[in-house]
Amino acid sequence: MASSPGTPQPAHPPALNPVEAGENVTMSGDRGHLRVFIGMAAGVGKTYRMLIEGHAEQEAGRDVVVGLLETHGRVETARIAEGLPMVPRLRVTYRETLIEEMDVPAILRRAPELCLIDELAHTNAPGVEHPKRYEDVEQVLDAGIDVLSTLNVQHLESLNDRITELSGIRVRETIPDAVLGRADEVVLIDLTPEALLDRLRAGKIYPTDRIDAALNNFFKIENLAALREIALRQVAAEVGAKRLTTELVGSREESLAADAPQAIGERLMALVEPYPGTQRLVRRAWRSSQQLGAQLDLLWVRRPGQNLSEDAERSLAALRQLASVLGATLLIEESDDPPAAIAEVARRRGTTYIQMGRSRPARGFARLRPPLAQRLMERLPGVDVRIVADRSSRSSDNQPASRP
């Protein structure tokens, strides 16, 4: 059958599934072990480290192959790969262009103990079985083959918008965060921004004609410093998540393991009302959420049928805008019983931390009830409740002078 332009054609027929494909396929029933080398940017040495570890495993007697290696023309990387057997690439024709991709069926037929697969976030050319390389890796792992792979932090879906805003460059190839979450080990390859820039200037990352463009765009020291911080935080979060899950599995509290992921990540909720002073509380809560790397919800419990004044309507609109710019979620619940509604929403959202302003002085019989913070702590054991002070009412004597 003739191929038409635009119709992807694999250079050889699609492979059968591992069982159908042949006799050498490892199907032990155990999933392979995935180790991901993550870094803040290209050039920090992820691929290099992956290859070094591949050699070490080979010397230890394991059957190691390189499933896919992207050297990007780096001599050092190509040199270190010598001595490791490589699985030939799959050739795909797309719009009359020959594209090389990883040959998953060939890896499965070869059935090594360990496979090195570079660039986990790569998007495959049309015509390859899976659209994304991480899906190829899943298939290799399912066949019981261990995998070492590499990833830059900006490819994580949840960080993509933030990094685009930071660097001005949208990274198109992303992977769901869950892929990294499923990795058995995440290894951070760290390098200071200064050292990375030295490597770039020395031509160790890109060819000479691309160095200036890189320095003027992505490889700015402030970008790299921020990316490094993001990478460090991300790996710290992964390590924390794995530690808690490991501690829980097999313990007498094994049943808690299912709840562990929810308990690991902090989630803040700020209790708001539509009046101007609430924005201060939202900003404080947002700062706290940034420091904790947590999601932020804003909750307003509205009395059923409550009418808003014109001022309150304006404050609510301003609150919505602020929430949107900060990346927080504004929730509005109708209830006659605010503590019950807050507790219900906190449970539903997995809140670990509540921030609220000082309550208005109670009047009448309401004076007999415990304060809202105390009622929340009784209803939500294990959730921190923080009452935020109004800093503007502090003595102005404490204020540092403004800049001259």
Binding site: D161, R162, T164, E165, L166, G168, I169, R170, A226, P276, Q279, R280, R283, R284, W286, R287, Q290, Q291, R314, S315, A317, A318, Q321, L322, S324, V325, L326, G327, R363, G364, R391, S392, S393, R394, S396, N398, Q399, P400, A401, S402, R403, P404
Partner: protein, 189 residues
């Protein structure tokens, strides 16, 4: 007999208590409603991580004279490769502390303050969205900002031509480089 008297006294005390309880808050509400309310809104837009001290002081002087609310507004710029509704945490990391610092300074003067955040493809676009959503009686901007960082002269001309509000543009004063920045923040973190 005596027990009936005690009961009558108790009921009377409860009724008096309820009446006082009703009257006092309503009296307070009435008193609050009689208080002079701010009738004017003064917008004080900014884009970077500091604002001119002169613009701030002008806003405070006018607000005091006119019993107005000062509305500092952080104008965030959305890069073209992001949707307009995107969260902007990196810009907010510098803009929010400054907003907080301005609020603290305004509050310490005993003036009402009500912050805003505008978002657009440029500072002018963010300001336009803000002005479409709400009415402001007066806008105070400083013309001594670096045009790359804040409102350019073109933006100021656009403000004068298009915006139906009183606009106060402060002339650049090279000798007066005083600024208010987030470093003036009183314990934000």
């Amino acid at each position: 007999m005596s027990s009936a008297l005690v009961a009558i006294i108790a009921v009377a005390a409860i009724l008096i208590g309820l009446a006082v309880g009703y009257w006092v808050p309503s009296h307070r509400r009435l008193a609050a409603s009689n208080r002079p309310r701010p009738v004017r809104n003064i917008l004080l837009p900014f884009t970077g991580d500091e604002i001119s001290r002169r613009a701030f002081e002008a806003a405070v002087r006018l607000a005091k004279a006119e019993n107005a609310t000062i509305m500092p507004a952080f104008l965030a710029r959305v890069p073209m490769n992001l949707p307009l509704e995107s969260a902007l945490p990196v810009q907010c990391a510098s803009g929010m502390p400054l907003l907080e610092a301005i609020e603290q300074r305004v509050s310490s003067q005993g003036l009402p303050v009500d912050s805003r955040v505008g978002r657009g493809r440029s500072a002018r676009d963010a300001l336009r969205h803000l002005l479409e959503a709400e009415h402001f009686d007066r806008i105070i901007v400083s013309a001594d900002e670096d045009p790359r960082a804040g409102l350019s002269y073109e933006d100021l001309r656009w403000l004068l031509e298009r915006v139906p509000a009183e606009i106060l543009i402060l002339r650049p004063a090279p000798e007066d480089t005083r600024r208010i920045s987030a470093t003036a923040l009183n314990g934000h973190t």
